[in-house]
């Protein structure tokens, strides 16, 4: 199994999180740490690039649910990009696309933030 990790990159006012591997109850705390750090730094515009995410469990989905409100209340958002089909299906089944923005490419998501 590929190792799970979260990396952060800054582009202008937007933070890009690269979540890699297998996101479940065991690895979720690492993603939470990354979000907590963003909130501590008052950075609320987040693009989550999931090109290397292989699986997400309900605990993983819960992490995004937990932080979305804080981001939106502070004029930011969590937008997703580059999802593999299988992973998108999990989000889709749960109805996430009705609540969150999904993009094929990271650039589009960043541009969306900058348009505002």
């Amino acid at each position: 199994m590929t190792e799970f990790n979260v990396q952060t990159r800054t582009e202008g006012s937007v933070q890009i999180l690269y979540v890699k591997g297998y996101l479940d109850a065991h690895t979720a705390p690492e993603l939470e740490d990354a979000f907590n750090k963003l909130i501590d730094d008052k950075k609320y515009k987040v693009v989550v690039n999931l090109k290397d995410l292989n699986y997400i469990s309900s605990a993983g989905l819960g992490v995004f649910m937990a932080y979305i409100e804080t981001m939106r209340e502070n004029g930011g958002d969590i937008k997703f990009s580059n999802l593999k089909k299988e992973v998108f299906n999990i989000f889709d089944l749960l109805g996430f696309p009705m609540l969150y923005e999904f993009y094929d490419d990271e650039k589009e998501a960043i541009n969306k933030f900058n348009e505002q």
Partner: protein, 681 residues
Amino acid sequence: MDFFLQKYFDLSNKRKLGTSVSASLLFVLTKLVLPAESNFLFFLLTELLGLLTFFAWSLFLFDFVYGQSSDPIGILMNSMILGALVYFLLSVSPEYLSAEDNLISLLLRYAFTFVIIASSAYVFVVLRELFFAHQKSNPSLYFNTMVLLFILAALTARMFENNVQYDFIGESLTGIAIAVSVINSIRVAWIAFISKKQKRILLLLSLILIGLFGTIFGFTEKQHSNFLAVLSPALNKLTGLIFLYGTIYFVVVFFTALFHLPTAEAIDRKTHELTSLMDLNKLITRVLDFNELVDTITEMTRDVCNCQSAWLVTAFEDKLEVNSANNIGKEEAETITVTLFNKNMINREGLTELNSLEQAGLVNNLKFQSIIIAPLNIHGKNIGFLFTAKRQSLGFDKEDKVAISAFADYAAVAIENSKLIEQSIEKERMEKELDVAREIQRKILPKEKPAIPYLEVSASFIPAFEVGGDYYDFFKIDEEHSGFVIADVSGKGIQAAFIMAEVKGIFESLSKINLSPKEILSQANEILKKSLDKKSFVTAVYGVLNTKTGKFKFARAGHAPVLHKQNSGIKSYVPRGIGLGISSTPDFIKTLEEMEIQLGNNDIIVLFTDGINESKNARNEEFGYSRLERVIVESGPVSTDDLSSQIIKEISLFAKGNIQHDDITLVIFKWNFKNKLDGEN
């Protein structure tokens, strides 16, 4: 005799004091009333009463001295003070005390006498306590003989004053008593058991005691100028003999202590080491808290080998962690440890000895000149290291190293034990919790299939080890309508089980009101959004079947698709809908899509949870939707129970003993239109 003494000892202190005072008064009274000078019998009686008073006081004082030989400095100090008092009284008492018969001199004489009796009684019990201390065999015969000789010598001291030819009896008894005293003076075993510091004090004390006691003995020998001798020759003699015995005894004590002094430190250290190891041994079984345990270990190690600093490091898969640092900063300890470890300078099998830290390229702020590192090994596995450091070069001697090794061995066992206990407590707690969760789930799920006309229903549920929070239920709404719900709570264990219980309550009450599936899910969302934490959600499918018309109306909230088998074909319906508890929008109902399908004869509806499609095989592949659909299609015209067991069989063949991570729930129903027709005909 011993029996009576024992009985007497059991009496309370108050009673013993009472007896002592009564004996004293009786003695004074007899002395004043009976003309002892003229009558031998009266003389003997007062002498006996005098001795009785003395022993009564001894027995009373015995309790205050008993068991004090392990720390004898205190009782020896008291003896010195009382000895000085007796010395003072005997040396300053003017001659007229023994001669004059006015009231003041009479009172003074008796007062002084009782002070002397009590003081010598105290010295006597102290000597007795020391005599018996740390004796392996019972030497009471020697001591009792000596006491008996003291009494006889005391009684015969002046008994034959008028018959000089019998003087030899008293003199020879005194001689034998002194000889036995000398023999009894070798009982000084207790000296070996006191610390070096105490031995030094003892040397000084015994010199003072020799001087004091010797002089007191000298005073008692002057029979005509000392008031005590005039008042009671026997008491005078007894006091003399006791102080003489004391003098001889402390001469022996002085020399013994002197010869013991050079080895005292080594003995002290061994004793300290031994008691520390014993303490540690107790800790192993008693201390459950890991941090407390390692702190105690470093503290004791530093104490025993007299070093500047000690720290304990645990190693897990080459990750080092300083768990306790005594007299050194944790960061500093970590720097030294990691540097030495990375340079492979630490031996994992035996002790490592370093003379400087510079050789490892460390800046040595703490000026350590010698470092000893002991590995913590258990069952041949290295679990950490115990570090000790001193500022002197070559500061550790052979005994230190042996002690450090011993501590490291004990520490390894103690740490391993505390970890095992911690693990088993945690495991037990989790198992208890899971038991509760399973029990909740078992009680929540329906116990039997519903009896609905024209409908064949099958429900299978296979719980995962960690309760997954799956839930399904059937509700009979009215004669024509039946409700179905299948739900999956996010999360696992007891938390999921509690949410599941709430979900059951919500659906059970909502199904009683005549609402559409969409409305029911929307209401459920409103309730759950308020009660669930931000990270949790519930997926569900709620459907209502009209058993007369075969119309099946359903809505989905984030849940797995609804499968519909018709003849040899299969359809998968995924009406739009967000999982419950995720969105708090008041327009939630608008996001839900409601579907209505018309079932045909023998059509089958399959509801399931993601435990099925997410079942994994050894290659970490998922069972997926397509495999499930294929199994259903290929099953042919079977009963719902058979279809259910066929699906589960396929899943277990696919997973082949791979651990089941999530609950598996499968609800299948078949609408038997033909039965209905039969029923109507």
